[in-house]
């Protein structure tokens, strides 16, 4: 029982990481009707940036927010330079563009930082906390706390502020929004910036668990896809719930199903994607696609 509880808590921690990246995917899905296949690579590059800053002697708690600001600006720049020229192109073109972007970002990171895995510092002590016989590591708690704050922050921004309202309107109803004076194109760029920053959180949180190298996010993005699909791909709240569900499921499967630990855990992620698409294509919180004819 104690071990079970411990597995659930680390599942929640890793789930927070999936949730952040899944939320980034959903933010962009809503803005352009397509997931950004480069989301994980962008998060990886941001993590390297944080790594470089910390290596230069900057304190973790200054480097972290600074990286998020830089990731935000980078996301806007990518939208303006790479995505905007093709935003009216067919979906397949956009798929290829974001796939190309993923390869490009991966290559840039490898070129600058090399492919040798590096250990990334965690600001949380390695000790564990004993709560009624359940040992919970400070690292897990820290990850849960940071992702919780970030996810709450995004929620408040989108739901409670005027800029969040105009971002949602621009993503779902671009034509109607223009007629209300919303600068739709800039709102979509802001969406990219926000997604990029939220994704960067997942990279920085996962790097101490894995090791930092250019391919670090390639398994994480699969879990994030699973989380986003499970949540209904359009729903930010669904993506967050999906992230935690996937995190806990993957962790428990690794611990209790013989043979699933290690590399086969990724198969659990795929199994979730396939199961959702077959059994409940609209996900937990998605809406059935209806069109008035």
């Amino acid at each position: 029982m104690q071990e079970f509880a411990q597995q659930v808590v680390s599942g929640i921690a890793i789930g927070g990481i999936f949730a952040s990246l899944a939320l980034a995917l959903v933010l962009i899905y809503n803005a352009m009707g397509l997931v950004n296949f480069a989301q994980g690579e962008m998060a990886m590059l941001a993590t390297f940036l944080a790594f470089a800053l910390i290596n230069r002697g900057m304190s973790y708690w200054i480097a972290f927010p600074l990286t998020l600001v830089l990731a935000f600006a980078g996301g806007i720049a990518i939208q303006r330079i790479v995505i905007k020229p093709v935003e009216r192109a067919p979906v397949l073109t956009l798929v290829i563009v974001t796939l190309g972007l993923a390869t490009l970002v991966n290559g840039i990171a490898g070129f600058i930082f090399g492919y040798v895995p590096r250990s990334f510092p965690s600001p949380f002590p390695p000790a564990s906390l004993d709560i009624f016989g359940v040992f919970i590591s400070w690292r897990d708690l820290g990850v849960i706390g940071v992702s919780g704050i970030v996810l709450l922050g995004v929620y408040l921004l989108l739901q409670r502020t005027t800029i969040g309202l105009t971002m949602r309107a621009a993503a779902h109803h671009p034509d109607a929004s223009r007629l209300l004076g919303v600068q739709v194109s800039w709102m979509l760029a802001l969406g990219w910036g926000l997604a990029s920053a939220v994704g960067a959180v997942s990279g920085i949180m996962v790097a101490p668990i894995l090791l930092l190298e250019p391919n670090m996010m390639q398994t994480i993005i699969i879990y994030a896809f699973a989380a986003a699909v499970l949540g209904g791909i359009e729903s930010p709240l669904g993506a967050v719930i999906g992230g935690f569900v996937v995190g806990i499921t993957v962790n428990l499967a690794g611990a209790y199903i013989p043979g699933v630990g290690g590399d086969l855990q990724l198969a659990v992620g795929f199994a979730i994607i396939i199961a959702v698409l077959v059994l409940r294509p609209n996900g937990l919180l998605g809406r059935a696609a209806t069109r008035r004819v």
Binding site: T162, L165, T166, R168, A169, H172, H173, D175, A176, S177, R178, L179, L180, G181, V182, Q183, V184
Partner: protein
């Protein structure tokens, strides 16, 4: 609007339309399907490419984006009403007022809007997709009013609504025009009700102005009524 030509791709829809909306006036555009009524409105808010010239308060709208025209004080309620169905009623209203910085005045306008449309106040928290057609039209008008525009462009506000609802909505449009001196350019299939509301009218026929004059005169002229307005 002077000699405006517009179209979609290769297909020209407007072949030189000129019209004028006086400050604080109500003007209607009538005509059959495909005459270019909607395109005329879309040209003003840059929803379609056009040539010629469109002036708004003395300023040329040439090469302006939709957002820029709207920010000058043009509220366009498009065909299909342009309701953001993913958002709540209240969020739709807030979008109408989102550019304004005069908080106290916005609050007054909210009160006025809820006075015109009490049903929207009741349903503030609901998703806009839960509203009936008439209520959505009210929401679109309310939102346009909250933009505090100088000119409202209304594209077939009567479409798909029951006659009683149409009458009450047109009464409110008249009321809005009288109390806040908003000019209205109204596109309508329902010529009779449009002519009752407006002071002058233009009848479009395949992208050209076929007839124009005072609404009361057009209403009285048997020949115009028979050949263009069909009642």
């Amino acid at each position: 609007m002077r000699d405006v030509r517009a179209g979609y791709g290769q297909r020209a829809v407007l072949h030189g339309v000129s019209l004028e909306v006086p400050e604080g006036g109500i003007v209607s555009i009538l005509g059959a399907n495909g005459a270019g009524k909607t395109t005329t409105l879309r040209a003003i808010t840059s929803g379609v490419r056009w040539t010629g010239d469109i002036l708004f308060g003395g300023r040329s709208l040439q090469r302006m984006s939709t957002e820029e025209v709207v920010r000058l004080g043009v509220a366009h309620v498009p065909e299909g009403r342009g309701i953001c169905t993913e958002l709540t009623v209240d969020e739709n209203l807030r979008l109408g007022a989102h550019l304004r910085r005069d908080g106290a005045e916005v609050k007054k306008d909210y009160d006025r809007v809820f006075e015109y449309f009490p049903v929207l106040k009741e349903r503030r928290r609901l998703s806009a997709s839960a509203l009936s057609g008439g209520e959505q039209q009210m929401l679109a008008l309310a939102r346009a009013l909250l933009m505090r525009p100088k000119l409202m462009l209304l594209d077939e506000p009567s479409l798909g609504l029951a006659p009683l609802v149409v009458r009450s909505i047109f009464n409110i449009i008249r009321n809005i025009n009288e109390t806040s001196r908003v000019a209205v350019l109204l596109v309508e299939q329902n010529a009779r009700i449009a002519l009752d509301l407006s002071t002058s009218a233009y009848v479009l026929e395949v992208g050209r102005v076929a007839v124009h004059g005072d609404s009361s005169e057009l209403r009285g002229e048997e020949s115009v009524r028979r050949s263009y307005l069909g009642y």
